[in-house]
Amino acid sequence: MSTPTLGKDLVGLEPLSAEQILLILDTAEPFKEVSERAIKKVPALRGKTIVNLFFEASTRTRISFEFAEKRLSADTVNVAAAGSSVSKGETLVDTAKNLEAMRIDMVVIRHGASGAAQFLGQRIRSNVINAGDGKHEHPTQGLLDMLTLRDRFKRIKGLKVAICGDILHSRVARSNIWGLTKLGAQVGVCGPASLLPRGVEELGVTILPRIEDAIQWADALNVLRLQLERMEAGFFPSLREYNRVFGVTNERLARAPKDLLILHPGPMNRGVEIDSDVADGPHSVILPQVTNGVAVRMAVLYLLAGGSPEWAHRGADER
């Protein structure tokens, strides 16, 4: 059987096969070690030009991509929407075509509109990587979550992962649902019914109405960030009540039949969706997630640039 490839763009995990997802996770393994070295650099993308096009504020994802790019020796430019031609009314497609006219190789895009990454990928020749589009997908977050789960459990298949919080507005939830179900995990979603998207069970997930149900059921909880503006839009009454009904607390976790692994894509609202003693506790892998983020993004950049997984090992071995 031939080695799978990723194609031109990474817009989401929905279009990927299990083999393609495993290819990325396996390719990320040797790249983890690069970040542990004194000299954190391999020449894999030397001479490649990458634009990080961020239409939404982002700290962790943008920096993670930038580190991934620099550790692969790519040349990078960051474009933030504010202060650029975008703020002067330029359309997304014009912005992208202008960047492409400067002969760039890849675009990493974060955008508030669902479908923006796919839209861009269909209109330019450069590789496009989705760093989060609206409420659609955030594939590299899904991948780093899966890499972190696999590190701890040594498998994905058969794991029970509960995604907790605002599923309705979450691109992280969608990428996790696609990725995990394709790799054979069982996925549960837990949150107020007003924050669950219509028909979500048709995506092959179990609905867990209460956080206590999720804690009883799951091997791992992926706790999503709750955004304040959703309260203002009337989707739930208050942060206080959210914490009392859906907050992940040590008290609730103590009633679990087993120790649960705790993930959170960040940034956290301590004391809202997750208590500090859980976030900082022994079963939290929130910081290892961040570390894995760089490795997963290196793998995605490397594979889209045409690298093969065997070379990734060799590339990482070069000193």
Partner: protein, 432 residues
Amino acid sequence: MRPILIRGGRVIDPSRSIDGVAEVYLEGGKVADTGPSLGSPEGALVLDAAGKIVTPGLIDLHVHLREPGQEELETVATGAMAAAAGGFSAVCAMPNTDPVTDNQAAIGFIVSQAQRAGKARVYPIGAISLGQKGQQLAEFGELVGAGAVAVSDDGKPVVSSHLMRTALEYARTFGIPVADHCEDPTLSSGGAMHEGIVSTRLGLKGIPAAAEEIMVARDILLAEHTGGHIHLCHMSTRGSVELIRRAKEKGVRVTAEACPHHFTLTHERCEGYDTNAKMNPPLREPEDREAIRQGLRDGTIDAICTDHAPHHYDAKEREFDDAPNGIIGLETALGLAVSELVEPGLLSLPTLISRMSTMPARIFNLAGGTLAPGSPADVLIADPKAKWVVDPTVFFSKSRNTPFAGRQLTGRAEVTIVRGQVVYQRRPEEAV
């Protein structure tokens, strides 16, 4: 004006339950006679309609012609030509232009532009409220006096139930229907497509079916309460069809229309974020599409309209959330109706012509919709078996925003006659 004799065609006139091969003679802008053999009137233009159907010209109760205000998208003249090419002898233009057609001068402008164009008839629809702002009633009497055939705030829902009630009552004075765009904006706000499994997958904000049905239910209750005539625009959900069916059983003065895209496509068409599948009301679920088809079959839905909504390429070439709603429909409606409703055996051709001509004429009390002697010579000759492929680049409309490009359809207009004059004749080189 030269008289016209149409020979050899299958004459379908639902207004008189006529369906059979006959001749139709048009003289002085009127239908002079129909019958098995009308001889050879001197000087008449003879049109051979063998193998074709000869029907009253189609009538579209719901189009957006963009003039005044957005003439780069469509004008009354280009819209009237596109209509004629689609087999329509008359269209009704919604008032959400810039400025809004909420006064007699604006209505008069549409009437005069339509006369200058001299293609399909264009009947203006006046606004319900001044500026379509949903507050103060427009002067229905003045609007009707200038040529308006109905009132509507289409494009915007009538949020205030009080305003809708008053409009239904006040419209009775002038014998016109109130046409409503049924949408509860507190449920639909920010929505880009139907709320369902596809919106969940795509991460787009959904518009629930209930946003339409709540307003359909309200309008029916108000029509019942006031005795006014409510006409429900572009129905898209199975719940709406059921509400209308029950209201008609009770004898409420309610009529309804549905669009070809809603009996042809479903929300799956939004996959890939294709903005040509973005419209309001949105494409719904397969069960909704089926209910619309059944509603058209049993008459719960009285009429087929296009909701022809021209938009510029650049406006649609955007992120899905930011693209405008709407597709053009005048030049694909007949083909879609024949392909989706008649070919599968759901509607007979006479029923289809009733839904696209006779019933629309009755709902808005328009001339046409019949070939009875003495009625206006608005006639369509169509080939119900012709197969053709939708190519938006040859449309008469100024805009190209259609999700049907490349689709093979059956059935198209051959000749459209308005006021006894040929306003469209398909050029033979367009043959496939």
